[in-house]
């Protein structure tokens, strides 16, 4: 009997060895799937290639030093100045206001959902909150200019219709779900043992949440924060609609300002000929934006390494 099992019939052996050999079609399929996976790298390569190849002629004409230090950005006027600072300043101001709104709100909601809310409420509220991040940004822009800005104008006298404050606040509301959802996931991943230990020592819920759960989930919460910052820095339509189109070097939230992204939109809507210096400014601005978000991302990776806790 064992003899038979060890030596299968000649036909069966052929079939097995045929199946074991990798058929050309299998190799072809694997190669096709590999190509699809590699396409993501090609996209990155395309982004880097376009941003650099279109920016290099710009930086030949405008020295990098002038680009980084000049305090005026007027490439579309007769008296041309190419200082990116006013645009970066606009981006940082709107991002700052958005974070002032979103970080406290998002963190409080995350803590509340993970450690205070009943499971039933949590399961209903989370998808509803995530709907907030599904709203198209152009609709948020409408909300900022048609509702929030006039409402703020009633509180703050002499507030111009286009202002950084309204754009920043609405942007903050937009990124709350990113923070609350991801942070809550991170906080729920903290083992129950830690909480029980804390309760056992006599701590109340709030102390446990702030002193035990929050520090333990810091790497995940940090990742949520940096994603939110990237979103705010790269957000385009809200600021293009509601923050105005005047690049000014100011941190005053009640004034108009133009962000890097809003400038790119403004030029894209216009009719500058391809290849002109004015046209290349949008790629230089895009490169600035790319470097900023990349910086935040690398920071987030570093933070995650630093604060990672393994249970």
């Amino acid at each position: 009997m064992s003899q038979v099992a060890a030596n299968p019939a000649p036909g069966a052996r052929d079939a097995i060895s045929r199946a074991a050999r990798r058929r050309p079609s299998a190799v072809l399929i694997e190669f096709g799937l590999l190509l699809a996976a590699v396409s993501s790298i090609l996209i990155t390569a395309g982004i880097v290639y376009v941003l650099f190849s279109e920016s290099i002629p710009f930086f030949r004409a405008v020295p990098l030093w002038e680009f980084l230090t000049d305090s005026q950005w007027t490439p579309l006027f007769d008296d041309k100045h190419f200082g990116i600072l006013p645009l970066v300043c606009g981006t940082l101001t709107t991002t700052g206001i958005a974070l002032l709104v979103a970080l406290p709100l998002g963190t409080i909601i995350a803590i509340w959902l993970s450690d205070f809310a009943r499971p039933g409420i949590r399961e209903t509220v989370k998808p509803i909150l995530e709907l907030l991040s599904a709203v198209p940004t152009v609709v948020f822009g409408y909300f900022a200019i048609q509702f929030v800005s006039p409402a703020l104008g009633r509180i703050i006298p002499d507030l111009p219709l286009f202002n950084v404050l309204a754009a920043g606040i609405v942007m903050g509301i937009m990124i709350v779900p990113y923070i609350s959802s991801l942070s809550e996931d991170a906080m729920r991943a903290v083992p129950m043992l830690l909480r029980e230990g804390s309760y056992g020592m006599g701590a109340n819920r709030l102390t446990t949440a702030i002193r035990v759960v929050f520090p333990a989930s810091l790497s995940g919460v940090g990742a949520a924060y940096t994603l939110a910052i990237s979103r705010a820095v790269g957000e385009t339509m809200i600021v293009a609609i509601a923050a105005g189109m005047q690049p000014t070097l100011t941190l005053d939230p009640t004034s108009q300002a133009q962000t890097v992204t809003a400038y790119i939109v403004q030029v894209s809507m216009g009719d500058l000929p391809h290849g002109s210096l004015e046209y290349q400014t949008i790629f230089a601005a895009g490169l600035t934006l790319f470097v900023m978000t990349l910086g935040f991302n690398l920071l987030s990776v570093a933070l995650r390494r630093r604060f990672r806790q393994v249970y």
Binding site: S40, L132, Y142, V176, I264
Partner: protein, 418 residues
């Protein structure tokens, strides 16, 4: 030291206070969502009607509609879905089921994580530099669709991987034990089991693409389009003289937003184009074919002169700087064998069509969010109502898609028990 019961009371009090703060924060966010919907509804509900859905944009706010934007959104999403879904699923399957653990795989993984954080407008710049100016796809539906596909690719890949990862290992092992090849396991088992998870991810990704504005503005989607892309079913081999005016400069009705055409109006590369003119005496007269040669160095005035030299055809420049061709009264003309790429650069309606049934993919376009942005950026307050109505449409589509995704996820969770 404080007495213990006081400490406990303080703790309970702090918990209660925080609980209220948490509720308040949550209500604040939900109120904002409610206010957003309210302001859209109060401004836009009165404009939502069949007329609004079936009219082209207009200079009069009350007559303007979203027809071209709706069709544009639909066609762009068609291209996006056809590109991003197969590509994303294939990449996800490779990374989860085929890839070996090495530096190259982890490079792809890090890269996908980084792509998800790149601002959408950067994708627009990439598409402008690469698809529009390097590959000469034009500022077309095809370019727009591919751009959005790139944008949502990371979401589809991550959703596919998560869906595959949630299938227990023993399902694979059982199939392998029965002699299935890796591809057979993927095709007959893993993909069918993960359909729910993948489609949730795909729906959410597409709903994000529907609302995306910035990258399409960057590649130069035009916000004033008063015509539809050519239908794959219609054949228009000849352009009658009355149609010719519209044919050449479809967006000539409004100046500033049709701009950029001057730059595009140069032949992309040197080549020839055949102009056929059929005289007026009935359908069976033989057309006269003239071949014109073009160089990229030619200006729009040179183009006009070249077309004007053809017998029976007159060419002129419209006030907004577009080129208009017209056949003499009663006769018809068509353009063919366009090796200069001129018809595409000029957005010419060239009768027979260079790309046959997929001609529409090369058509200029607008989408719903861009139309809304355009209406919103006009000083006239009446257009804000149109913007609100367009916003309502957008919200209905995106919230509907997200609702569908939640529904699919919930159903899937109930059905599958490993």
């Amino acid at each position: 030291m404080r007495p213990i019961d006081q400490t406990i009371r303080r703790g309970i009090f702090a918990d209660r206070v925080f609980s209220i703060i948490g509720w308040a924060s949550l209500l604040f966010c939900l109120c904002m969502l409610g206010l957003l919907l309210y302001s859209l509804l109060s401004d836009g509900a009165s404009r939502l009607s069949w007329d609004f859905l079936s009219s082209f944009p207009s200079r009069r706010a009350a007559a303007a509609g979203a027809k071209s934007a709706l069709v544009g959104s639909l066609l762009v999403m068609l291209i996006t879905a056809c590109t991003a879904i197969p590509l994303g699923i294939a990449a996800g399957v490779y990374l989860e089921e085929y890839a070996r653990k090495n530096w190259f795989t982890s490079l792809i993984e890090v890269n996908i994580a980084n792509l998800a954080a790149v601002p959408s407008i950067i994708y627009g710049l990439m598409a402008l530099g690469l698809l529009v100016y390097q590959f000469h796809l034009g500022q077309s539906i095809l370019t727009g669709g591919i751009t959005l596909a790139f944008l949502i690719l990371p979401i589809v890949i991550v959703a596919t991987r998560e869906a595959l990862r949630s299938i227990p290992q023993h399902m694979r092992e059982a199939a392998f034990a029965l002699g299935a090849s890796r591809w057979q396991v993927v095709r007959d088992h893993l993909l069918p089991y993960s359909t729910g998870g993948i489609s949730t991810g795909v729906i959410i990704a597409l709903s994000r693409a529907v609302g995306e504005t910035a990258p399409l503005v960057t590649i130069g989607a035009i916000s004033y389009i008063a015509f539809l892309p050519p239908s794959p079913f219609s054949e228009r081999p000849w352009l009658p003289a009355t149609n010719a005016q519209r044919a050449i400069a479809p967006n000539a009705q409004e100046g500033p937003l049709a701009s950029g055409l001057d730059d595009m109006a140069r032949p992309p590369h040197s080549g020839t184009i055949e102009v056929r003119v059929r005289p007026a005496q009935g359908a069976n007269t033989t057309p006269v074919t003239t071949t014109l040669a073009f160089e990229p160095s030619m200006s729009i005035e040179d183009l006009r002169a070249a077309f004007d030299s053809v017998e029976g055809l007159s060419a002129s420049l419209t006030p907004s700087g577009n080129l208009a061709l017209a056949a003499d009264a009663g006769s018809e003309f068509s353009l063919a064998n366009d090796t200069a790429g001129l018809t595409r650069a000029l957005d010419l309606d060239k009768g027979g069509g260079r790309y046959g049934p997929v001609e529409w993919a090369w058509s200029p376009f607008t989408v719903l969010p861009i139309q809304m942005f355009n209406w919103l950026s006009r000083p006239d307050e009446a257009f804000a109502k149109n913007a609100a109505a367009a916003g309502l449409l957008l919200m209905a589509v995106t919230l509907g898609m997200n609702g569908a995704a939640i529904f699919v996820r919930a159903r899937m969770r109930r059905r599958i028990k490993w």
